[in-house]
């Protein structure tokens, strides 16, 4: 593509301002969104056409500051620096916060469009922003949007074209005289240094002197000058230069906000305030968390079971017709078992994962995950991590793969590794399918909750022990507490649908593949052989039928396959035919822990490298074998 014909646009701003929703709306994508800060973990680009122009839009992770030589987000930094136009998304309900970031873009002298997003919530709160005045002060075009409702999108695209054809730089916004003097002094000193950033931006960063920037390339003389200026300044004001600059920005942002913002007192919706109070209350907060999560599984169980039973009926109805018309020859049985494996997907997986994802996404979009982080921070520190770790762990209940990637929100290496380790112990929706389909269906919800409790205890113990073994830095939690938002139903349903679609696309071929493998093994008489390799563990130690050996091997591909393949081998989902209650629990415990699935393993490898991934795998296999064997023994003693 000819460079002159395309426009590079970068979406930036503080976390949780709606950047990814805006990106999704502009480019019809389905990137992860939700009401907590730090969802977007890496920059994503997509190009669109608008009025015969190619516009390449990049969604970037939310940040609070722009660094010159960042050690995190190097690629993203490049995208921002190489963009023609910057869309600075601001949460209209709290423009002062957003403007603290905007001021840095202005220092950077990038053509910027200020996007006042979430205009709908601002309106509900009686917040009005004088766009014209803001435009005058900053020199940047200003536009109001409601990204979730696609409001303001055409106008935004028009503004992009207009700004591109008539490039306008932001106005300089001056800080206090003292600081400006110092900035000018430094600017004079770095005049000769070639750099693609604005000298003012660099000067301010030098003055700020914070740990994220590396100035080792600077020549000795300039360094000395800067150091002296900083020393001088700090002596005069009694604060570090970093705080002085932050305070300058804060005051400027407040000053601008006071000028452009008017608030009429409108009656705010009471449910949010009430819910906010309740869910972070020192007693109610914890009770709601426990019952809320219990409710998540209870609800999934009830709905899932109901639908699953309907499918069971349909399937046995179908089976009797099958037998009636095709007879009960071995060929017809083979055909049926192939069909059954496909039906089993609908019988045992879909009914559970749909309600489950809907609720998980509702919690995420509502803003509940940050409350969990808040309520558990001190407790999580005892596990070597911090409150923020709860967020990937909660996401892990859905799928471990994105959850492990989201562990990048952890700031220190140690915390990231520990959070990933704990996240892989979280039972994902595939494990849930096995647990619900076996234990839930034949033994009741109580036993399901028992298994989840057991998992929780294992996670706590693993955290406590490994935090003692693994050395490294601990960081403290700090993040914005998002206000509750009415979950956006359409987004939630779309995200759920994408999950299900992805599942069907990946699972269905695997189901067929594993069906074929099993049949081939059966034909060549290897089924018993392969199963018997594992039988010292499966049969002798765990007390499971020997066939589970092959199921567990297939389960590494996807854990649902354990149940689906069993269904296709049996020709029915009535698992109580082959498994006793104790065996159901034992198999579930093994499934919960024995190994991360192949997709998770590859995510682990990407995030941690082979060595650590291998540690995790070995740890989890041993854990599963020891734990499941113990549970099986205890259960056979107490005879359930």
């Amino acid at each position: 593509m000819n460079k002159h014909h395309s426009i590079n646009v970068a979406i930036v701003g503080r976390a949780n301002s709606g950047k990814s929703v805006l990106f999704n709306t502009l480019t019809s994508s389905h990137e992860h969104t939700g009401n907590w800060e730090g969802k977007t973990i890496k920059g994503i680009r997509k190009s669109i056409r608008f009025r015969d122009k190619k516009i390449i839009i990049s969604d970037l992770p939310g940040v609070q500051t722009i660094d010159i030589f960042p050690n995190k987000f190097k690629r993203e930094h490049k995208i921002l620096m190489n963009s023609d136009i910057v869309l600075n998304v601001i949460d209209s309900t709290n423009p002062q916060r957003g403007l603290m970031f905007t001021l840095q873009l202005i220092e950077l002298k990038k053509p910027t469009i200020i996007v006042l997003n979430m205009a709908d919530i601002a309106k509900q709160k009686g917040i009005k922003i004088n766009k014209k005045l803001l435009e005058e002060i900053t020199g940047c075009p200003v536009i109001e949007t409601v990204a979730t409702k696609k409001e303001g999108m055409t106008e935004l695209l028009k503004k992009i074209l207009k700004l591109k054809s008539n490039l306008k730089l932001p106005k300089k916004i001056a800080y206090s005289q003292d600081i400006e003097d110092k900035i000018n002094k430094i600017t004079n000193h770095i005049k000769d240094i070639k750099h693609n950033l604005s000298p003012r931006f660099i000067s301010i960063k030098l003055l700020e002197n914070n740990a994220n920037n590396d100035f080792s390339t600077l020549n000795q003389k300039t360094k000395q000058v800067v150091e002296n200026i900083i020393k001088n300044l700090e002596k005069r004001f009694g604060y570090s230069s970093q705080i002085l600059i932050a305070s300058e920005r804060l005051h400027k942002a407040t000053e601008i906000t006071n000028k452009v913002l008017t608030v009429q007192n409108v009656h705010e919706k009471g449910w949010k305030k009430k819910l906010e109070k309740m869910t972070s209350h020192k007693i109610w907060g914890y009770l709601i968390m426990i019952f809320g999560l219990g409710g998540l599984f209870g609800f999934t169980f009830k709905i899932g079971n109901y639908i699953s039973l309907l499918f069971d009926k349909a399937s046995s109805f179908l089976h009797s017709y099958w037998n009636l018309y095709l007879g009960v020859s071995s060929a017809s049985q083979l055909g049926w078992s192939a069909l059954e494996s496909m039906i089993a997907i609908f019988q045992i997986t879909i009914p559970y994962i749909i309600p489950f994802y809907i609720i998980l996404y509702i919690l995420e979009d509502l803003g509940y995950l940050s409350r969990v982080a808040f309520l558990t921070d001190s407790f999580m520190r005892k596990l070597g991590v911090q409150g923020k770790s709860c967020i990937p762990m909660m996401l892990g209940l859905g799928c471990n793969v994105p959850a492990c990637l989201n562990c990048r929100i952890m700031e220190s290496k140690k915390e990231r590794f520990l959070t990933i380790l704990l996240t892989t112990l979280v039972p994902c929706s595939a494990v849930m399918v096995v647990v619900m389909g076996l234990v839930g269906k034949y033994m009741g919800l109580g036993w399901v909750l028992f298994l989840y409790l057991l998992d929780l205890i294992v996670i706590i113990l693993t955290g406590v022990v490994s935090s003692k073994i693994i050395k490294g830095k601990k960081t403290h939690l700090i993040m914005e507490m998002p206000e509750y938002k009415m979950p956006h139903l359409k987004t939630i349903l779309t995200l759920t649908w994408y999950r299900v679609k992805e599942f069907l696309l990946i699972a269905a071929p695997l189901v067929i593949l594993s069906g074929v493998i099993i049949k081939l093994l059966e034909i060549f008489n290897w089924l018993g052989l392969i199963s018997s390799i594992l039988s010292p563990i499966t049969v002798k130690w765990l007390g499971l039928p020997s066939i589970t050996g092959i199921l567990l091997i297939l389960g590494i591909l996807r854990k649902e396959l354990i149940l689906i393949t069993l269904a296709s081998l049996l020709g029915t989902t009535n698992f109580s035919l082959v498994l006793s209650h104790t065996q159901m629990i034992t198999l579930s415990v093994v499934t919960m822990f024995y190994i991360p699935c192949i997709a998770t393993i590859s995510a682990l490898k990407q995030e941690l490298g082979w060595k650590k991934t291998l540690y995790i795998i070995i740890f989890e296999i041993s854990l599963a074998i020891i734990l499941a064997g113990t549970v099986s023994r205890i259960l056979s003693i107490i005879k359930i």
């Binding site: 709290n94 970093q242 804060l250 972070s280």
Partner: protein, 75 residues
């Protein structure tokens, strides 16, 4: 006293930050700098603390909160 010593609902003024550069920079990104008014909202036993500062709510771990020196306004 530090933020941690405040009671729920109590207001105070930030005096100084007794922490290294890194913590200082993280706090200042959320507007927690000297001379700013804050209010402690919630302080649950097993959790972090929630404060209100410049019209927004920020949660911070207790370890970090104990590094922010404040004074109550009626002092």
């Amino acid at each position: 006293m530090t933020i941690l010593d405040l009671k729920e609902g109590q207001k105070a003024l930030v005096k100084s930050i007794m922490a290294g550069k890194n913590a200082e920079s993280r706090l200042s990104n959320f507007g927690i700098i000297p001379d700013e008014k804050i209010k402690l909202i919630k302080k649950p036993l097993l959790g972090a603390i929630e404060i209100e500062i410049q019209n927004s709510k920020v949660i911070l771990g207790k370890g970090l909160a104990s590094k922010v020196i404040v004074t109550t306004q009626n002092e």
